[in-house]
Symmetry: C2
Subunit: 201 residues, 2 copies
DNA sequence: GTCTATAGCGGGATAGAC
DNA sequence: GTCTATCCCGCTATAGAC
């Protein structure tokens, strides 16, 4: 259902669907709106997707997969210090949310609209992404960069980032990278540099 | 429309509507579901509310109003230090979100579903609540408890708190107060106590 | 792969009796 | 203030021609 049925056409349709789901929300997006955006009639949609649910699942799979690989990439291309890795992770997260402005947002905000089967199928993917976050947070905790409970710190940090979707202004002066920088500064002020951290750089 | 039409019956109906809106989301909650929960038939609903939109507006007004007065109350009954005030504010916020589990959640998560007129009418209320938050954050910044931009810190903190709705387990061991404590500890570690703060206590 | 046409359902809302 | 009955609409999804 996933890696198999991946025609370029379907990929393109998924991309357009993501855009509408972000703008209108999944429930308020009708198949007619989707079809119009894609330049076809609503009946033709069901040649590509079994039903509306499957479109949502495709968007969320795409969005999470994308966030995951961009995050891994960012971690590979950044420095070794816990601070740099935390920053890279936050920045990658924000870029998929605020620049892309599409599938990843849907994955976060419309997850609850998935039916049980789709949630089951996609939860391992979501877990992989959250686990990656927890690893980076763990490193920050061990480096003494941040303090607190691993689970709670992860949730708070991801919450702060996820909520940016609600207030961020793409036309404004602040870029995703700036937000990432400010968030890291907030939870791990520069004055808190520890011995462990400085030896790493 | 607001303070006027406040029969006890309508208040009770609003309370029940809030519950359903949290469980199902506004769009997926039908007037028939609402009526059933209230023990009446769907037609009778429209004696109390002009349309479904007005129910949403009533819930959101109630939720924001309530959060605002609880927050003010919490600030009056806590110590004078910036840390105590920040903690009190976070705790009040989480309690309206996680214990109440109703109108305030709807206010945050279904705001976008309000029509233009209702948003217009309610935005001053929301602004008042957010301004209160910014004041408390300002105090924390001035006390050297937290560092960064006032606007961004407010948004990040509120985001971290608002997102708890998505993962918090009411049956779990952690109480809203514990979360509030952990959040404050995360952004303002105890080792950061400044002279300004200790003189206040 | 897309079209037209439409089935079939469930939604929000109204009217008038009680 | 609640009921029954119902209108009307727009939604998802299907069928079969092209």
């Amino acid at each position: 259902m996933n890696a198999v049925n991946e025609s370029p056409r379907r990929k393109e349709l998924t991309r357009l669907a993501a855009q509408l789901f972000v703008q209108e929300g999944f429930d308020r997006t009708t198949v007619r709106m989707l079809a119009q955006e894609m330049g076809i009639k609503s009946g033709s949609l069901f040649h590509h997707f079994r039903d509306k649910q499957e479109i949502l699942a495709a968007v969320i799979e795409e969005g999470t997969q994308n966030a995951l690989s961009l995050a891994r990439q960012a971690l590979e291309n950044c420095g070794d210090s816990a601070r740099e890795r935390l920053h890279a992770m936050a920045r990658a997260h924000l870029e998929t949310l605020l620049t892309d402005r599409n599938a990843h947002v849907v994955a976060l905000y419309e997850w609850r609209r998935l039916d049980a089967a789709a949630r089951d199928h996609l939860s391992h993917l979501r877990d992989a992404y959250e686990t990656l976050w927890e690893q980076v947070i763990d490193e920050a905790l061990e480096a003494g960069l941040v303090h607190g409970d691993r689970f709670l710190v992860s949730r708070f940090v991801m919450g702060a980032l996820n909520w940016t979707v609600r207030w961020y202004d793409p036309e404004g002066a602040r870029k995703p990278e700036d937000l990432a920088h400010e968030l890291v500064a907030m939870i791990a002020p520069a004055t808190q540099r520890t011995a462990a951290e400085s030896t790493k750089v």
